[in-house]
């Protein structure tokens, strides 16, 4: 059986109520899911004998600015056994700007989620160490949001006193 079908079959049988959407673009297989299911789905993908998505390559978000669900959190995970890359996407609304952390599944997610929090302000629940990654700890804004200007906000970073 082809791996994509196997993934669909396993996920559908384990999460019948999850309403997962599958798509493929330029040979990249993608699963879209509700943010409630992110941790159990990731756990299954990692721990299943046939799938073994052991490497969390990247976690990031996309800011759609004007859409109803403003952010999409995107996970890229890789299975060394099958040499297969999978993309997981889940929508997060600005009003309820949080999602469960997958750092309990992959430890690599720790910094990847910290970076995402720093840049987009998405809170990762149950994250062991949710601090900013790049910006100073007392910085008020999230620079990769579309409403943050390219040139920065004057006064947002304290300058040395005269």
């Amino acid at each position: 059986m082809e791996l994509k079908e196997l993934i669909q079959q396993k996920l559908n049988s384990a999460f019948p109520e999850a309403n997962l959407e599958y798509s493929e673009y330029k040979n990249e297989f993608c699963v879209k899911l509700d943010k409630k299911f992110i941790v159990p789905v990731c756990k299954l993908l990692k721990e299943d004998e046939d799938l073994q998505f052991l490497l969390s390559e990247d976690i990031t978000a996309v800011d759609w600015a004007t859409r109803k669900n403003r952010f999409t959190v995107v996970y890229h995970i890789f299975s060394l056994k099958n040499k297969f890359r999978l993309k997981l996407k889940t929508d997060v609304d600005e009003k309820d700007c949080n999602i469960d952390s997958v750092s309990s599944v992959w430890r690599a997610a720790n910094w990847q989620e910290r970076e995402c929090y720093d840049m987009y302000g998405i809170i990762f629940n149950n994250h062991p160490d949710l601090r900013r990654m790049y910006m100073p700890e007392d910085f008020e804004y999230h620079p990769l949001r579309k409403d943050f200007p390219l040139l920065g906000i004057p006064g947002s970073l304290p300058l040395p006193k005269k």
């Binding site: 390559e57 992959w106 690599a108």
Partner: protein, 416 residues
């Protein structure tokens, strides 16, 4: 290094430091302290700041602080065209800019659906492998310098200088190359450049062996690295470590094999793997990889076909400068591409190559405009650095220097 008091460090960092240890001490010893290393420390390879919690000289907690070189390249990418961003990729991993150029254009070509002529693909493969050699030369040299073997640094940099001369002939720049273009490369590889590459790989093996002799028979070097910073393959994978550091832990994962891009499926090469997972194994992997790269470059020189180096796709690929000045059609296309961009179709892709430090990927989201809606750089150094706290725990301060050198982080890439 300066000694800090608790008030100098942000309370959240102190919290993280105190939490970040498995060793519990009932009564805090009097000599326990927090030590600040960097961001201007020569051994941290750039502006990496590491906060260490020490018991005497033993590290019991470590928190790396990133962001001192954060220039917001992801934000800048959202505000410029795909072509304009090529020079900026040079500044990510500034030790191997060619590999970054290749990674970026491959991602954009996948997004826009551009077919690249075979000669250009071979040239890209050649420069990517030479970039890997330069990067590993710097890594090994600086690593040896960190643990006290100063001569090797001069010798490896001498070799690197020869590759920089090849860059000079190929594209006119030694450091920030910006050699690749969307749809091909900026100009064809000249015969004298290829002859120089041939000369370089012919003499490289002997010179590398000389450097190796200096290190492999150096007892201080071996003893300072053996068994230092051991990482099991499972842990490395869980922490998102890729590249030589992962292969030193016994996991044979190389994107050139796992998801072949360019023409790597036509090339015969091995993936060096070691099982020890310590700092010494990471050094051995790098040296072996240089030899493999030489093998790859030799095959590329044999197999490289003649032909075009730029795709014939006038709406998306910039024409050559001489044609812009003499032909009307080309002038129009140049004007349109420079002013309005190449407008890839709506969609999103992720493309990763095996950079010299590990998996270097670009995640691009297009809304059909001239500039990307979102660009995410998956940088290997950032993810590899995450292993640092796990590696240094229980070792001495001087081992921290060796371990950072063995991970080989480039802060331009880790901080973006």
């Amino acid at each position: 290094m300066e000694k800090l008091t608790k008030d100098d460090v942000h309370p959240k960092i102190v919290q993280a430091l105190l939490r970040d240890t498995d060793i519990t001490i009932e009564d805090a010893l009097e000599n326990e302290m927090i030590l600040n290393m960097g961001p201007q420390h020569p051994a941290t390879h750039g502006v990496l700041r590491v906060l260490l919690r020490l018991d005497g000289e033993t590290v019991i907690g470590c928190v790396p602080e990133l962001g001192y070189l954060h220039r917001g390249y992801e934000k800048m990418a959202e505000n410029m065209s795909y072509y304009e961003y090529i020079p900026h990729t040079d500044r990510l991993d500034y030790i191997s800019p060619m590999a970054n150029n290749v990674a970026w254009v491959l991602a954009v070509e996948k997004l826009a659906g551009i077919e690249v002529p075979p000669r250009a693909q071979y040239i890209r493969m050649m420069v990517a492998e030479l970039a890997r050699i330069t990067s590993h030369l710097v890594a090994v040299g600086a690593f040896a310098m960190d643990v006290g073997a100063l001569t090797v640094f001069l010798w490896t940099l001498r070799e690197r200088e020869k590759v920089l001369d090849i860059w000079d002939i190929l594209c006119g720049a030694r450091f920030t190359n910006s050699y690749t273009r969307i749809g091909g490369v900026a100009n064809d590889a000249q015969p004298e450049a290829l002859a120089k590459v041939k000369w370089f790989i012919d003499q490289f093996d002997d010179n590398l062996t000389e450097c190796e002799k200096l290190l492999n028979s150096n007892r201080i070097f071996i003893e300072r690295l053996e068994g230092i910073g051991v990482m099991s393959g499972e842990l490395a994978l869980d922490l998102g470590v890729t590249g030589p550091s992962l292969r030193a832990s016994g996991i044979e994962f190389d994107l050139r094999r796992a998801t072949p891009y360019l023409k790597y499926d036509e090339i015969d090469f091995n993936i060096p793997t070691y099982t020890e997972g310590d700092s010494l194994a990471r050094y051995f992997v790098r040296v072996d990889e240089m030899r493999e790269s030489v093998k790859i470059v030799r095959q590329i020189l044999e197999k490289m076909p003649q032909g075009e180096v730029l795709a014939n796709n006038p709406k998306k690929v910039l024409p050559h400068k001489t044609e812009i000045y003499t032909k009307m059609e080309e002038l129009i296309h140049d004007f349109m591409i420079v002013n309005f961009g190449i407008n890839p179709p709506v969609g999103e892709i992720y493309h990763a190559i095996e950079g010299s430090k590990g998996e270097l990927g670009f995640y691009l989201v297009s809304k059909g405009e001239g500039h990307p809606w979102k660009c995410k750089i998956r940088s290997p150094s950032f993810n590899n650095l995450q292993a640092l706290p796990h590696l240094v725990k229980g070792h001495m301060i001087s081992d921290v220097v060796a371990i950072i050198g063995s991970i080989d982080p480039i802060m331009g890439e880790a901080d973006k």
